[in-house]
């Protein structure tokens, strides 16, 4: 259980003649590892995550999950988006069961499993509610149950909590890694929130911009659940911030010498 994700020499351009959006990305994520991917807006985090989900094929290189090349979406590697995007004509339970329905599982069989999952994400009393009557956080919990229902080996999160209020976000930042640990799921979460990265991940990958590449990484070896006020947490936070600033200045210098002069002056 738990899958290895290999990113092999990935480069990508959206237009054939355009600039590289991603360039020379090479990394390996171990089974059951909880990984965070941070970087400036527009550096290509979502692009890379879509590739891991099979929603986008890189122009060079490939993504392999358990040594199998990812070429199309699959219930084995599942993605959660910034918006829950639930289907308003289905109940909470039907939404959560959708992946199983697509896989041909009978509703009766799915029902028991979905009940368990909705209990786990804390929605036991809203199973038959209409999704439009749920709060943003509750909707995102339904989306989480929907992603977990097909027993994925990989869970990919694209800023899934960024639209939520601070309390709900904090709760989910704590719960999701625990659930992934429990179910032995390899998790990759994209964020531009340094605290979120340290709260959720074993390892933080730092991306630079233009072209997007993984420039540095940081291991986070803190006990769960992680406390923001913790001394070690603060220390890692500072370290990560510094690494981040460093990559920013190097990438500016690399891309435009005239700017580096003004920065130096």
């Amino acid at each position: 259980m738990g899958a290895t994700i290999s990113l092999d020499y990935i480069s990508h351009r959206y237009q054939a003649a355009g600039p590289n959006t991603l360039s020379g990305i090479n990394n390996c994520i171990k089974p059951g590892e909880l990984c965070a991917l941070i970087g400036r807006s527009g550096c290509g985090k979502s692009t890379l995550l879509h590739m891991m989900a099979g929603l986008l094929i890189p122009s060079e290189g490939c993504v392999r999950i358990n040594n199998q090349q990812v070429q199309k979406p699959s219930a084995k590697w599942n993605m959660m988006f910034q918006k829950a995007s639930l289907y308003p004509w289905m109940s909470v339970k039907e939404n959560a069961a959708l992946g199983l329905l697509f896989a041909g599982v009978s509703p009766a069989q799915a029902s028991e499993k979905i009940d368990g999952l909705l209990d786990m994400v804390g929605l036991h009393d809203r199973k038959d509610a209409r999704v439009q009557s749920l709060s943003g956080g509750q909707q995102q919990r339904v989306a989480l149950a929907r992603s977990l229902a097909t027993e994925p080996e990989v869970l990919l999160l694209d800023e899934p909590f960024s639209a939520l209020d601070a309390f709900t976000r904090g709760a989910l930042q704590e719960e999701v890694p625990l659930i992934c640990r429990k179910l032995n799921i390899t998790m990759v979460t994209v964020t531009h929130d340094i605290d979120e990265a340290i709260t959720m991940a074993d390892r933080v990958l730092i991306m630079s911009q233009n072209p997007g590449r993984i420039v540095d990484e940081l291991s986070v070896d803190l006990p769960w659940p992680r406390r923001h006020m913790d001394h070690k947490f603060q220390h890692l936070r500072d370290e990560l911030m510094q690494m981040f600033v460093q990559t920013e200045t190097t990438s500016i210098q690399a891309s435009d010498p005239s700017i580096s002069k003004t920065v130096a002056a």
Binding site: A53, L55, P73, S74, A75, N78, M79, F81, K83, S85, Y87, P88, W89, L98, G99, L101, F102, A103, R130, Q132, S133, R146, T150
Partner: protein, 277 residues
């Protein structure tokens, strides 16, 4: 909820269930019934004026009394049922064609931006042509009168269905496709589980509009050569100077039209996935 109906709700709780039910129905119906009574009074008053005017007294059969007795006779003879059945049959076939053409084309122009740009102006032009303007062409183009009438109904029904469907497709959240693809949906599953349920309420709303237009077009269309249906019955009653029957048919047209619209309203409610507040 108004205070009056709120207190009614409260009182209902302490009543035997049957009586509570009767009260509830009475409360729901009081305004519509009042409205219909007003209409009846106006109608009766009009009949009264006609009867007392020596120039118009020949038309006194238009008044409520003669009309309702003619209606009773029509029902008893079974003539009415037959008339209504043939009209409804034409409406139904016309609507089916309208759906069969309007929904796929609507999905196409809603989904493919270029198709919309190309089709918009010609379709808007065609839409503004009264379906009855096609009458002579329909008569030339179709061998049977029935087919010509159904063609006119299709010309009335297809536009609302098409535009409403296209509107529904255009407002589908693109993320719904991405999420479904990500969950492993195949093409047919995407169609049956995501696209169709998403646009169903717009399709049904289009059908409701179409029924309204088609019902209005039906009667003049049935003035064409056919020997059945409500339009024919009106023509026939006029030719035989049986004005009571004519008024009865007019009444039936209104009532059935209302019922059709009410049924469509139920359907719209059934498929509406917006949260009612």
């Amino acid at each position: 909820m108004t205070t009056a109906s709120a207190s009614l709700e409260r009182n209902r709780a302490n009543m035997p269930p049957l009586m509570g039910g009767v009260l509830w129905v009475a409360n729901q119906l009081k305004y519509p019934v009042l409205g219909c009574l007003c209409l009846l009074v106006l109608w009766w008053f009009g009949g009264y004026l006609i009867r007392n005017d020596p120039d118009l007294s020949a038309f006194s059969a238009f008044a409520p009394g003669p009309t309702f007795s003619a209606l009773y006779a029509l029902i008893l003879s079974g003539e009415l049922v037959q008339t209504i059945t043939s009209s409804l049959y034409r409406i139904l076939i016309g609507l089916l064609w309208g759906v069969a053409i309007g929904v796929p084309v609507g999905v196409l122009i809603g989904y493919v931006g270029t198709a919309m740009k190309i089709a918009n102006v010609p379709f808007q032009i065609l839409r503004m042509i009264s379906p009855l303007a096609w009458m002579p062409i329909a008569v030339l183009a179709f061998a049977s009168w029935d087919a010509a009438i159904i063609f006119l109904i299709v010309m009335a029904a297809v536009w609302p269905i098409m535009f409403s469907t296209a509107h529904g497709v255009r407002k589908i959240d693109p993320n719904w496709f991405k999420v479904a693809r990500n969950l492993g949906a195949t093409g047919p599953q995407m169609l049956s589980r995501i696209i169709l349920p998403a646009i169903m309420m717009d399709v049904v709303a289009g059908i409701r509009l179409a029924v309204g237009v088609a019902w209005v077009v039906l009667v003049p269309a049935e003035y064409l050569g056919v020997t059945s249906g409500l339009g024919y019955a009106i023509n026939d009653a006029r030719d035989t100077l049986s004005y009571d029957t004519l008024a009865a048919i007019v009444l039936v047209i209104g009532v059935i039209g209302y019922c059709l619209d009410w049924l469509c309203g139920l359907l719209v409610k059934r498929f509406n996935w917006h949260l009612e507040d």
